[in-house]
Structures are given as structure tokens and as C-alpha cells.
Symmetry: C2
Subunit: 316 residues, 2 copies
């Protein structure tokens, strides 16, 4: 019987799980609400129970299961230690050990954005690269870095936390992380809406955005694509900050490519081309003209990456 | 007979070479002027000839020589490919292959700052760490990053080029790299002198710096240590930019420690403490309180790192 593995992506509202063969083919996938009882202390037990249920239901033999990869929304060390998990209410624990003791399977854990990066490198927009930076522009800005085909977890599991790189020392509004002037405050979906509202308030310039019932990042990009000057200025400002941060990252790790995912990336080439324009102004000659790609796996990047993470432990 | 290896550090004015045993003990070291004939095209041949001469003079048996590590002042890929070597006048070539063909020994090449970083990690200020950022504050600002004990070379050999990270978009003066507002323009020895001169010009504030015949980075730090307010403001500004760049690096790779070398680092704790103060303002909680150390190998960091680089190829 063929070898399989599970890839799990634990999020604040939903847990996604996928069953993969050893070659990376997605055989089946499921999603269920994150169990948020007692500040999330049952989340891991609940996910383990789900997997045990699937193993029974699908009549899988444990010797044919390579293991489980798990992505969680917070810093995780390479050994599975979780230091803080703000959204999931846990204190210190080792997620890999807890999951292993509940399923009897090998478990490898990683940060959700790092894991999604690995998924995109394996089967998505980063296919063919070995050194890649993945950035998700969604409610927040997440990042994941892959070097030589492996996740850069960092010494405290905080590698790739690029959403909280300083871009504007003059900012007066506090970011979710407690600092001020983080990239996330300008380049997340929320950040782009905030930039748009501020720009509308500060000028009298006519703009289609003034007619919108509610402004979303999509509205901003749609108006920019139609040539609306004010919307274009907002897009340009967000991309300016992204270009600067990408230049910082390149000066540090010199990757082959940047892959952009998350809801905002649905805007497409207007986003990648604009970021690239700003990026090229701020890097040394050797670092110019990196590849700027769009992610392709959408919400499945996490389960793909989790599966790849556990497959990597056996050299696949 | 015991196994030995050579560590070479090719610089713009001098070539340093060291003979090491396999445990990392420096047995002997030499230095000679860099051969700058025909824009530097003979540098590698000259260094190879020097090594061949030493092998004959010391009656070393080739089977006892593990190989040669070489650090050069420019981007080098992992395989030894050199794309540009601004200060040494070479076009494209593979330094590892050229050196190997001239000596008959195994050769591994790396960028000088990256190699010095490895040296400091192995036998210097970074001893005991596996993930470290090394920064040299000299005529320029160089950087080297070590992850899991190995140099992060980057996809084009430009990993760790942190001296050219943008810190000030408003800068009007062009940096040596062709961009404007690079860290190097404020935190190198030259940059600190420039900051001091600008500050003196822009204010009427009394300062001991006004009495100096010639201002050097050392003068600035010495006056700051004596409590000179204007000198302290200059130090604070340089450390502010260093703190910001270190925060960017930490958000990207989450290292264990920062090790600071180069002439400016002779200022000592006034430098590390001041950088740390600024750094902690700009990083996420998980990344606060990293170690800030001073380099200890001085000009020998390069030969140590080169030796370690070739020893690593045989798993030492």
C-alpha cells in the first residue's frame, strides 16, 4: 500500500487538513472550525482527534503514514517548541510532542506563513526555486523564507516576520504588535484601506473611491486599474513600502524570487510590477531584477507546506 | 603527520595567509601586498604562488593538506563563481577552480565579510552560537550571516550585504554603491566623521570636536565617552541607524547574536549598548534582548574563517 501523510493548517477560525501521497499529490482535504473553548487549549487535541478519526474512517494503516506536518499561527522553533500563541490562547508547550503523543505518528511543526512558503515553493508560485521569500498580504502581512529548500525558522521561531519590519518612524498609530510604523500598517488589506481613507481625507482630489459604499483593498486596486489617480497613488504608496522591505530582505539573504500571496495578491500584475519598480531603486546592482511571482495555491498553501515539511524529515 | 590547512584573506591592499591545524590552531601567519598589476588580474596567481612557496619551504606533504579557504572582497557564489570584483579588476571567473588548478589542492571561496563572520563564530566573539550576524564597521560597513553554522552566501553571493540597506530616503549624497541613504553612509568610520562634520556645521553648540585638528570616528567616540553632548548626539544617530538595520535583519532571520567588528568597534560597549537600546524599540517582543558582542579576532578573522570554511568541506 502506498505511503501517505497529513498536512494540517491551524488557523484562528478554521483548521484545514489534507491527505497527500509521498509524491505530493493531494488525495483529499477537509476543513472544520477551530475549537476555541478555554482560550484555545483544546485546539491541538481536537485536531489530533480529527486525524485519528480520518485514519479509522479511511482504514489507513499506521505503518503507511509517514507522519503529520502542522502549521500554526505563531512562532515555532525547529524542535516544535511554541513560545507564545497569541491567537490560540496557549502558553508554552511543544506542539510536535503533544500531537505525536495523541496520534502515535511523527509530527513536524512550523509557523503558518513559513509553512505556506514551503508549500508555494513545492507546488505553487515558487516551484523550481530553492531560495525564496513568500509574503502574504491579507488581514495582516505574513512572511516565510526558504533557503536551500528549507524553512528559515530562526533561533526563536520568529524568522520571516517581515510584516513587522519598520517602514515609517513618523507613524503615530500603534500596530497590532505594539510597535508603530510596521509594513503591515500600510500593505495589508486593512492597511491599504487605511491609506486610502487617509488619502481621501487629506485631499479634495476627485476619485471613484469617494463613490464607493465601503472601501476594500479590492476597490482600491480596481479603481487604480481603471486609471483613478488617487487610487493609483494609494497603490503606489503601499508598493513603495513593500519595495523597500523587499530590498532590505534581499540585502540580507539574496533570494532568487519573491512570491506574493494572500487576498491582496488577487490584484495581480499591477501589484508585482509596482513593487518591482520600487524594489529596484533600493538594492545593489547584483540584487536587481529578482523574480516577482504571484502565489498559486491560495488557501491550500498551508496544507501543502505542512505535508512537504513532514516528507522532508524522511528526505523526500 | 598532522593534517593542516591554509586560510587566505585577499584584501585590496594586502593578502593575509594563515596555516592552521585541523582543530583550528593558528600555526603561522603571513601578510604580503596585494599584486595590483593589470587591474588585479594576477592576484590569484600571486596568492597561489605564495602558498606553493610555503608548502616547499615548510616541507609540507600535499596529502596532509586539507585544502585552502579563500576570502575575497566581493560577491562569490557557493561554487566559487565570482560575478564582479570591483576592487580587484577581474571580470567573471571561478576563483576556487583557478586556485585549485594552480596549487593542486581543494579550494573553497567566500566573500571576505562572510568569511570573517565564520571566523568570529568559530574562534572569536561569536563562539558558541550557531546563528549569528557579523557586522564590520570600518572604511565601509560589511556584513556576514551565519545560519546553522554555515555562511549564508545568497543566490548571487550577495547575502549579508547589509552596509547598503536603505536607512534614509532623504539623503542627497550618493554612496559608493551608487544608491543614496545606505547604512554605510552613517555608520562606517567615514560615515561617522561625515555625520560629525555636518552636525558641527549645522549648530553653534560648543563641543570638544571643534578643537580637534582632524576628526576621526575615534575622536567622536572619545569625546562622547567624556560626556560631550554633540559627540554623543553623533554616536546616537549612527547607533540609531544601526539599531534599525539590526531590527530589519532580526525580523528576517531571527539570529541569536550580533557581533560587531572593524575599527569603529574599538569604541567598545558605548557602541553595543547604544545600538541595543535603539534595536529593542524596533523589533517584536520575541526578538528583543538578543546578544550584542564585540568581535575579538581583529584582522585575523578572515584567515580563521577561510580555514574553517575549507575544514567544513570535510565535516570538521
Amino acid at each position: 500500500m502506498r505511503q501517505v501523510c497529513f498536512g494540517i493548517d491551524i488557523g484562528g477560525t478554521a483548521v484545514k487538513a489534507g491527505l497527500f501521497d509521498a509524491e505530493g499529490k493531494l488525495l483529499d482535504k477537509w476543513s472544520f472550525p477551530t475549537k476555541r473553548t478555554e482560550e484555545g487549549k483544546d485546539i491541538v487535541a481536537d485536531a489530533a482527534e480529527f486525524i485519528n478519526g480520518k485514519i479509522a474512517e479511511l482504514k489507513l494503516q499506521k505503518e503507511n503514514i509517514i507522519g503529520i506536518g502542522v502549521g500554526i499561527p505563531g512562532p515555532v522553533k525547529d524542535n516544535g517548541d511554541v513560545l507564545e500563541l497569541a491567537n490560540l490562547g496557549h502558553g508554552y508547550f511543544n506542539i510536535a510532542e503533544e500531537m505525536k503523543s495523541r496520534t502515535g505518528l511523527n509530527v513536524k511543526a512550523g509557523n503558518d506563513a513559513n509553512v505556506a512558503a514551503l508549500g508555494e515553493l513545492w507546488q505553487g508560485g515558487g516551484k523550481g526555486y530553492r531560495n525564496m521569500v513568500f509574503v502574504t498580504l491579507g488581514t495582516g502581512v505574513g512572511g516565510g523564507i526558504i533557503l536551500n529548500g528549507s524553512i528559515l525558522a530562526g533561533s526563536n521561531g520568529a524568522g520571516g516576520e517581515i510584516g513587522h519590519i519598520l517602514v515609517n518612524e513618523e507613524e503615530m498609530v500603534t500596530c497590532g504588535c505594539g510597535k508603530r510604523g510596521c509594513l503591515e500598517q500600510y500593505a495589508s488589506a486593512t492597511g491599504i484601506v487605511r491609506l486610502a481613507k487617509n488619502t481621501l481625507e487629506e485631499s479634495e482630489e476627485p476619485s471613484k473611491l469617494r463613490e464607493a459604499d465601503e472601501i476594500s483593498a479590492k476597490t482600491v486596486f480596481d479603481c487604480a486599474k481603471e486609471g483613478d489617480a488617487l487610487a493609483m497613488a494609494v497603490v503606489d504608496k503601499a508598493c513603495h513600502y513593500l519595495g523597500i522591505v523587499f530590498s532590505h530582505i534581499a540585502q540580507v539573504i539574496d533570494p532568487e524570487a519573491f512570491v506574493i500571496g494572500g487576498g491582496v495578491s488577487k490584484a495581480g500584475e499591477i501589484l508585482t510590477e509596482n513593487i518591482k519598480k520600487h524594489y529596484n531603486k533600493y538594492v545593489m546592482t547584483t540584487l536587481k531584477n529578482k523574480e516577482f511571482k504571484l502565489a498559486t495555491l491560495g488557501n491550500d498553501a498551508g496544507i501543502y507546506g505542512s505535508a512537504k515539511m513532514i516528507l522532508s524529515t524522511i528526505g523526500r
